[in-house]
Amino acid sequence: MITDSERTERELAQFLEQRAKAVNGPAYRRTHAIATVALIVAYADRELSEEEIEAVADELIPIAQRHSLAVIMPDPDLAHAIASDVRERIADYGEAEVFEQVRADLDETAARVAITLAAQVAALNGTIGPDQMALLGPIARQLGIDASERDGLIADAMRVVQADLAV
């Protein structure tokens, strides 16, 4: 039995992560890649709040559904596992390398979902910070999304956030 109170959420969710990989294969990799992009952007200010991690799990499915993209159920434990993993890998390798590791799993549709999710998570308090904006642009460009489409996706994300904040 695990007694070490310092055991990370990533470790506790390992079984779920392994299971998701085994059962879902490509869909898992796609989900992991989308969440990773969102978390890279969210982590641009070197902080990753509980609220941002939960937003990745909560918002991924609705956004994917708007784009008719199959992803796996965003279990909160799994979101924590990916968040912890992204944080560690950014510390070890930097944002650019972590992005490169998942880029191949993002096709055109998944890229749009990733940018929308990243913008939505980054804008949780109503605005997207300059550090996060500085990452969103280059990542979108490398995913083949031009400036006008990127701005459209960000505007969509902002509308959702503003609507949530207005409730």
């Binding site: 055991r7 390992q14 079984f15 392994q18 085994a22 059962v23």
Partner: protein, 328 residues
């Protein structure tokens, strides 16, 4: 003797049968992992229900809400089946779980799997105890064991499974495939047993082949002793005899005969000796096939035959296991 012990014993000598326990037998498999696995039993139960919904998995077990880490000592259990038996999941830190080179060689483990096993960092032992003298319970327990192992083996970090009853080392993916066959109702125990084959000592042109682990589910191992044929043909014949016993309803008795590979033209090429468990060195009953040209003196080794060739048998009753299941 242990499955993983290094030493001078042969694989055949070193592997116990379904381990006797005070109240029956213990079936056991080892899932070898690339890295330690942290898991919560409740998550495992959810996965078991998803992959094996036709089986019964209970949530009331006392360990269901606990978290385990295979890097530390694990003592988990999953309540299952109508009778609510338990599949136990254990490990012991420090136990040398990696199959030794001889076991890999006998199992013809391919290089990628062998390399993963060499680097493996952890393991989980999955076991279930079965009451004595109840073949239906044995079969049912084996299904639950196979299913639990399959869910663990399906994970990307699972390298291989060691099936203790046969000292069989198989890639994890193959175990998952077998478990599906079990789920569909067939009995792949012949495939899951180990077929040991080797030329006899230099100077003879004979081979000896025998199953290992087949007796647990079929009542007896099958052996070809000092057969004057090539290894491939001998293996094929041993498997055929195994299928005849387990699937086709043949109940070979001491002194029966069997045709050779050429079929009816090769009638009575083999004499079959039935050796009860108590009289065989391995502790398992054996059906030993002796080719008419074999130099092996079975009468000297096993004593006079109990019956002559051509005994009549009822072949409509579906094999040893099916008969036992009906009686249960």
């Amino acid at each position: 003797m242990g499955l993983f012990r290094r030493g001078s014993t042969t694989v055949a000598e070193s592997v116990p049968r379904a381990t006797p326990v005070p109240d029956g037998v213990r079936l056991s498999a080892f899932v070898i992992l690339d890295e330690p696995l942290q898991f919560r039993v409740r998550h495992l139960i959810v996965a078991l229900r998803e992959d094996f919904p036709e089986l019964t998995w209970h949530e009331e077990d006392e360990t269901a809400a606990e978290d385990f880490d295979s890097e530390e000592q694990v003592d988990a259990s999953v309540l299952c089946g109508a009778a609510a038996g338990s599949v136990r999941i254990n490990n012991k830190p420090g136990f040398d779980f990696r199959p030794d080179q001889r076991l890999l060689s006998v199992n013809q483990v391919e290089r990628p799997t062998a390399e993963r096993l060499a680097r493996a960092a952890s393991y989980l032992n999955v076991a279930i105890e079965v009451p004595p003298g109840d073949p239906a319970a044995l079969h049912e327990a084996a299904r639950y064991l196979a299913a639990t192992v399959a869910v663990l083996a399906r994970m990307p970090i699972a390298a291989a499974v060691v099936w203790h009853e046969a000292a069989r080392v198989v890639p994890a993916r193959r175990w998952v495939k077998w478990a599906k066959e079990v789920r569909q109702g067939s009995l792949p125990w012949l495939g899951m047993s180990l077929l040991l084959a080797a030329p006899d000592p230099v100077g003879s042109d004979t081979v000896t082949v025998r199953t290992q682990g087949f007796a647990t589910f079929s009542g007896a191992e099958v052996e070809l002793r000092q057969a004057p044929m090539d290894i491939a043909a001998a293996k094929s014949l041993a498997l055929t005899a195994g299928v005849m016993c387990s699937e086709l309803g043949h109940d070979f008795r001491d002194g029966d005969t069997m045709s050779g590979p050429a079929g009816p033209e090769d009638e009575a090429a083999f004499t079959i000796r039935y050796i009860p468990a108590a009289r065989h060195a391995t502790g398992a009953a054996h059906r030993v096939l002796i080719h008419r040209d074999s130099p092996f003196d079975h009468v000297a080794a096993f004593g006079p035959m109990k019956s002559g060739p051509g005994a009549q048998h009822d072949r409509e009753d579906g094999g040893w296991l099916k008969r036992q299941l009906r009686r249960a």
